[in-house]
């Protein structure tokens, strides 16, 4: 029996003890149990696959019957909607996503917030120019921008004081201050986020 006081345990002893914990294993049938739970289900479609389905739907030939009056009305509505969008929403300056960047839309449901901004690694954690737009009818705050491919950390800053992580983000990381940052992974081309 080791009678040495435990307060004398050296870091080397602890490291050795920790290494021994590496032998713990869930058992040989673990993988079989996981595969049993997965069953015959296929992985859920990711953003890229959904996009592929949209492209497929859009490119699929189909016949549409439109009456002349209905066609004119639909065209007028479309023009009106586009006009309103560019007037109110702005979008990007020249109407297109800058080269090398992917469009990204941040959304936060915060009906009682007075002001919400996105701060993150892509804007130096500053709110200037990153205030989100509110839709009072839905309580949703949105901001569309363009970001380069890669991993971006961010949070929503509510009413200028309260950082809120994005509940819709699949990933988050420790911010080093006892809280967490949401992580957005922007892929090339389609702006898909994990």
């Amino acid at each position: 029996m080791n009678v040495q006081p435990r307060t004398d345990t050296s870091n080397d002893d602890l490291a050795s003890g920790l290494r021994r914990l590496g032998a713990m294993d869930p058992g040989e049938d673990f993988a079989a149990r996981v595969m049993g739970r997965i069953g015959a289900a296929a992985p859920q479609a990711g953003p890229k696959r959904r996009m592929a389905r949209v492209v497929e739907w859009l490119t699929e030939p189909r016949s549409i019957r439109v009456s002349p009056l209905g066609g004119i009305a639909a065209a007028a509505c479309l023009l009106l909607a586009l006009g309103l969008f560019f007037k109110n929403y702005g979008g990007f300056e020249n109407g297109a996503t800058p080269a090398g960047l992917s469009p990204v839309t941040f959304v936060l449901a915060a009906p009682s917030a007075r002001e919400v901004a996105v701060i993150g690694s892509f804007n130096g954690w500053k709110t200037a120019g990153w205030t989100m737009r509110n839709d009072p009818a839905t309580g949703l705050w949105t901001l569309t921008t363009a970001l380069p491919p890669g991993s971006h950390e961010y949070v929503f800053l509510v009413d200028g004081t309260t950082p809120v992580t994005d509940a819709a983000a699949a990933l988050s990381v420790d911010d080093g201050f006892g809280s967490r940052n949401s992580v957005l992974l922007v892929k090339n081309g389609d702006g898909a986020a994990l």
Binding site: M1, P5, R6, T7, T9, S10, N11, L14, A15, G17, L18, R19, R20, L21, G22, A23, M24, D25, P26, G27, F30, A31, A32, R33, V34, M35, R37, I38, A40, A41, A42, P43, Q44, A45, G46, P47, K48, R49, A170, L171, S172, V173, D174, G176, L185, K187, A192, L194
Partner: protein, 183 residues
Amino acid sequence: MDKPDNDRDDAMAVERTLSGEREAFAVLVRRYQGPVYRLMLRFSRDEHEACEMAQDAFVRAYERLASYDQRRRFFTWLYTLALNLARDRARRVAREPLYRQDLEQTHADPRHDPLANLEAARILDALRGLSPKYAEALALRYIEDMPLDAVAETLGVSMSGAKMRVHRALNMLRELYGKEGTP
């Protein structure tokens, strides 16, 4: 773990899983079941609960596999997902005190002598007393035997940040371990 060859194998296994070859995912489960299980042990009360949580993590990883960015290391993605799952659960479930008897039973392993099992249980108990930020740094460095750069990548911190965390965590663990073992 996490050598370039493994990364290529992982990427291939992910591709094959996504293309409908379900068994390819079992390769990934076998490869990473140890680290994920041991991660869950640090957030659970016993090995049965840890095993359930580890299974949950792999099932979730399978469901979300299409959203995995293959430019990243698979293990980093999987570990982050599992860690988030464990933290969510820890927030939901109020932790009950761990009974020494449970720990001794949990880690009783006929291949090792009883004293070694007891020591392992005590170290794990002390590790549970650290905040996840420090416990995970120690676990990756020593339990999973990862080099510091891989620890830094997995935790999303710089090399020096990882080194500092491991160093501080080891000192904190020594203090906890000493208190825990003092009569």
